[in-house]
């Protein structure tokens, strides 16, 4: 069965969507990622959508679901690389991706995940050690 590969790097899971996903493939990715967060105890998920030429309501919903499910599993999600034309279209479509953190590129996305993790550790009282 066709699948989007998920890479593990340290405490993070990385996904680069490089194909025009049909709906079932998007659902499979959502399930695989959620299962992957639980199995690897990942603290963050980075999804690179720079290859995507469109994000419609179905893909938008999938991104929102992944962010919500990972939050419940104590991991942050950041979506990176959205093309400007996609962003314009998405907002006009009526989707503003509430609850989904975004960054311009992979580098900034990783910084965001690391920052979120450091903040979390401070709250938990590990910061001074």
């Amino acid at each position: 069965m066709e699948r989007i590969p998920i890479l593990k790097m340290g405490d993070y899971l990385l996904v680069t969507i490089q194909v025009d996903m049909h709906d079932r493939l998007a659902m499979t990715l959502q399930d695989d990622l959620t299962e992957g967060i639980a199995r690897t105890r990942a603290r963050g998920v980075l999804i690179d959508i720079s290859s995507l030429e469109i994000v419609d309501s179905f893909i938008g919903r999938m991104l929102g679901n992944i962010a919500a499910m990972s939050r419940v599993l104590d991991a942050e999600t950041v979506v990176v690389g959205m093309r400007p034309a996609v962003a314009i279209t998405l907002v006009e479509l009526g989707l503003s991706l509430p609850g989904v953190r975004t960054a311009l590129n992979v580098e900034q996305g990783m910084s965001l995940l690391q920052l979120a993790r450091a903040e979390q550790e401070n709250i938990n009282g590990y910061g001074e050690r």
Binding site: D23, S57, T89, E92
Partner: protein, 134 residues
């Protein structure tokens, strides 16, 4: 009016929805639409193709590259012989859904297009036409 390209595709699977997006993209590019306009019409096509599949039980889309003296662009007509839409005004409301989605497909496709027409008869089917002009 001179048509340079006119083709009809069937929509039976979610892979067909992907193919509709790809053909719509090729036509929009060939018609000289800007990148943002291409993205808008392809996104609208994706929403309507999915509606045809999920709510209409499958159907067809006619893709026309329109070139007249006054305008140049792309017209897409989605048709199904599904259950039809009893209340079109309600179906066009943001957030209204019968399928468990976000309820943005139909209303979003309308906002992303320059022209939008919908005809539906309960028990007979639905036809949605959208166009994006250069």
């Amino acid at each position: 009016m001179v048509m340079v390209k006119d083709e009809t595709m069937s929509i039976r699977t979610s892979e067909d929805v992907v193919r509709v997006r790809q053909v719509a993209r090729e036509l929009a590019l060939a018609q000289g639409l800007s990148l943002v306009d291409q993205t808008k019409i392809v996104t609208a096509a994706s929403e309507l193709a999915r509606n045809t599949l999920d709510h209409g039980g499958g159907g067809t889309v006619r893709l026309e590259a329109v070139n007249s003296e006054t305008r140049r662009g792309l017209r897409l007509t989605f048709e199904d012989q599904g259950p039809g839409i009893p209340d079109i005004d309600l179906a066009l409301k943001d957030g209204y859904t019968t399928g468990g989605g976000l309820g943005l497909g139909l209303s979003g496709a309308k906002r992303l297009s320059n022209e939008f027409e919908i005809f539906s008869r309960v028990g007979e089917g639905t036809r949605v036409m959208i166009a994006r002009w250069k």
